[in-house]
Symmetry: C2
Subunit: 539 residues, 2 copies
């Protein structure tokens, strides 16, 4: 803003300069919620009980040690770790001094880990001890990484420096923030099911605004009274903002470490009184299965955000039976990542319970973004719940361009094409019907692979279902269905085709059905449709 | 952010440019909550039923008409109006094109209205018809105001143009936003109990961030499911952000117009199902009195924010008996205005009900600000609930300098001195014990005028109590107590002194007590202590 008054003669009044940098969230937690617990489950199962004041202190010491090492603002520092006290302290330690925290997803294929590490050029790597065997294989191919510091426990082999040693002697008075809020803070790569992974470079500002936009009552509704457990890994899509929003509201924080099986999650939730969590459907399926197998009908959980892929109705019903609210959500790495949350409006609350259920299974209302669906001819489509088109988004935490790319990722008028196909209804609920690349184009019409898969999830013996496009001489493409069974059964492929009759349009019925032992899963827990398409001759 | 990668060879990845301008809130309400009701009570009592789509459309037409008239970005446009559909459309119409909405408080002394209008140099004035007699007196002294447009009803006298006429023929496709988010959006003057009123020039960014920071669960907790009625006037301290936060969440909005007596408020609340409101204690006292007098024990209200001056315990108890949550809050024009909200932390919820009540009567926890108390020697004081000092604040919606001032209003390290005396306790609750200028300095020790006044509010016959500093030869200053009785009674001045014995420290007991017919009230509904000090020979 100009210092001159619009009329020219006196300086203009104005408000404070107050950069939106994420270090302010942990500063706030220290000053106003310093004794609030931060609980971290170590890889060996022990619980580390700490608080925000100590997390702040450790993070400050990480900053001082990084500066001593020679890390400068703008430098990238990599992490390869599960959700823990140490990992979170390292995030803030890196970001607080204007360096860039670059998370590596350990579930990626080793070639992709090497690609990502070399592309991001992190000079240091902070890694959990459990990944030592992986590191032995990939580090020789990652020349940019000068040194490795091990978290939570020393890496075997003696070559790596433990975190306690790295920060030994470092003081707590290192300055944070004070730089431009557009300064990069984090770097996260997409899972890259097509081509190389692509990097999304989050800024302090985008992370700050993402946190505020997800804290509000119509999104995650987070408060100091919550006990927040991020099941979604810190290396996957920015923890859905929880690494920022939890200290921002001063909520007790529970970091579950690497063990995310149903029993481990349940024990931790009950022991620490977790009220809020967030994760992908497969994790919650394991949790529900554990509760059911053990006759557990109570939980301290109050709200669970489920996203990453569509939440099956059965999971939603199981949570509701426990008195736990399910918030269906959708996002992507490029959106920092939250874009839609299925919270109810008063119009929705006035509907019948069955009608509400239909809406709850949609991905939700825009949260911190604006959204629209666009036809192939570039026309905006109506909010009628039927017109399907490309889901376009924009907002303060939406990507402008990928790391290292020279061209913008946006349309000329500033929209980002999500690559998803969606409808928007009159209530403002967006329903993702498919990925653009997964949709089946049969005789000029579109068949939604997701709709067929969802119909099959009602079948008691189906563990996973995947529909992909199979080349077809007459129709161009036709659906092929792959089934992974939940248990031993006598089901034949034609039984599943018959099961679908009446549940979907007749011309959507898959031409072929194949039962396979294991449907391939990618690094972020989603079905690898590229592999299945290759299997049936598609592209 | 530089386009260059820190390492210099490729452009940096980055997130979207997305200016934090308040027009985005109303755009969002139109797109995602277009049918949500906006109800406005006209001065004659009729209800205007509309919605966000129509509010947006009217605001766009105001923008087009302003541009046609010749209003340019940076120009100031004044309003003198109660809370209504028209007034809100004018706010967005002005701000959307980068002009500055300058609210004038009609309760100010006429000399102050003239001062404010001439200082702000608004070229146009939008005014409610009810203020025509006032305008006839002040307009001749306000040469900057070129023209007046009347809201809600035509002004008598025929000289002023009705709003419908002003926007007649204006289109709805005028562009909004697209300018720097630091662009000034609003200009509001302090009540000026000492010296001239001072202007606070809000930016789009400060208003945007204020809205987000007040929407969160630990502040006002606003959602699309709320029905929000701002009782606090739009001309008083930025409506506590509700003009922005209500469309931001898509809540139904009820604008009560000029009539704020208990009966009018109750009828409107029940008719429109209001769930959330905000206002000063005196308004809520009238509401409670009306309910009690009419034996009403139910209300659609769920949460009420009370601020502007300390909320008496009796009001809090009355609301709680109705099942309505009271959120004590504190702020000032210079903070946009919200600074503290007394929402509970888990530590507080673990206390007894009586202990919680003590905390609820404090002004609350920092909300969108950082806060600290400073001793006269510049040392920061402990959060012990006892050490009283100047309340210092900083944050994204805190003033940097007053309108037209050349000097900063901040300390060298960026804190704004609120002029309030406060303590902070171990729970993070701030308690305002006095205004710095109202505190009584007796023999080198401080006496809190507010504490003595609060002790008197438990007396059934006291309507208002005010304690001010009276000059004293030996002690420098001693407290003098003024009482305004609630009803006819035989109470003598010495009875009130006796009532205070045991309730406050003995050396705090007022040297003089005087019962007066009417304690003077300033333009914002607060006791005018300056007038009382003059009355007893103070300064």
């Amino acid at each position: 803003m100009a210092d001159q008054h619009p009329s020219g003669d006196t300086p203009s009044g104005r408000m404070q300069t107050w950069g939106l940098t994420v270090d302010k969230f942990l500063d706030h937690a220290r000053r106003w919620h310093g004794n609030r617990a931060v609980v971290s489950r170590l890889p060996d199962g022990r619980l580390l009980h700490s608080n925000y004041a100590e997390l702040h202190s450790t993070a400050k010491r990480v900053s001082a040690a990084l500066l001593s090492y020679g890390i400068a603002p703008g430098d990238r520092v990599a992490t390869l770790a599960s959700n823990s006290f140490d990992h979170l302290a390292i995030w803030y330690g890196i970001m607080g001094i204007g360096a860039v925290c670059h998370t590596i997803n350990p579930r990626l294929h080793e070639d992709q880990i090497v690609y990502v590490a070399n592309h991001a050029r992190g000079r240091m790597l902070f890694a959990d001890g459990q990944y030592a065997p992986l590191l032995e294989r990939v580090l020789p191919r990652c020349p940019a990484i000068e040194s490795v510091v091990s978290l939570n426990e020393a890496l075997p082999g003696g070559g790596y420096r433990p975190l306690a040693d790295f920060i030994d002697g470092a003081g707590e008075d290192c300055a944070w923030g004070g730089f431009d809020e557009q300064t990069p803070a984090g770097l996260c790569y997409t899972s890259g099911t097509t081509g190389h992974p692509k990097g999304v470079l989050y800024s302090h500002r985008s992370n700050y605004l993402l946190a505020l936009n997800t804290i509000v009552p119509d999104a995650f509704s987070l408060s100091a009274r919550d006990v927040i457990m991020p099941v979604v890994p810190m290396y996957h899509a920015n923890t859905w903002g929880l690494a920022f929003s939890a200290p921002a509201v001063g909520a007790k924080l529970v970091l579950p470490g690497p063990k995310l099986d149903g029993e481990s999650l349940h024990n931790l939730i009950e022991r620490e009184g977790v009220t809020f969590s967030a994760g992908v459907p497969t994790v919650w399926q394991g949790f529900i299965d554990y509760l059911r197998a053990n006759g557990i009908v109570e939980s301290s959980l109050r709200r669970v955000v489920i996203g990453g892929s569509a939440c099956p109705e059965s999971i939603m019903q199981s949570f509701e039976a426990l008195g736990i609210e399910v918030l269906h959500a959708w996002g992507m790495t490029e959106l920092s990542p939250v874009g839609l949350v299925a919270s109810a409006t008063p119009d929705v609350l006035a509907l019948t319970r069955a009608e509400q259920r239909v809406l709850a299974l949609k991905q939700g209302r825009p949260t911190g973004i604006d959204a629209a669906v666009m036809a192939d001819d570039g026309q905006w489509l109506a909010h009628d719940g039927k017109s399907a088109g490309r889901l376009m988004v924009r907002g303060p935490a939406v990507i402008e361009r990928y790391e290292g790319h020279h061209e913008s990722a946006l349309t000329p008028d500033g929209w980002f094409d999500t690559g998803d196909v969606a409808t928007i209804d009159a209530f403002g609920y967006v329903r993702i019907t498919d990925r653009v690349k997964d949709i089946i184009k049969s005789g000029g019409e579109w068949i939604s692979s997701v709709d067929i898969e969802n119909a099959l999830l009602d079948h008691p013996n189906v563990a996973l279902a995947a529909v992909v496009a199979m080349p077809h001489d007459k129709w161009g493409e036709r659906p092929k269905l792959y089934i992974q069974l939940r248990r031993e059964s006598n089901d034949k492929p034609e039984d599943f085709r018959r099961f679908l009759e009446g549940r979907i349009a007749n011309w959507w019925l898959p031409d072929e059905v194949e039962i396979i032992e294991q449907i391939p899963i990618g690094a972020t827990g989603k079905i690898d449709k590229k592999a299945l398409r290759a299997r049936c001759g598609g592209i």
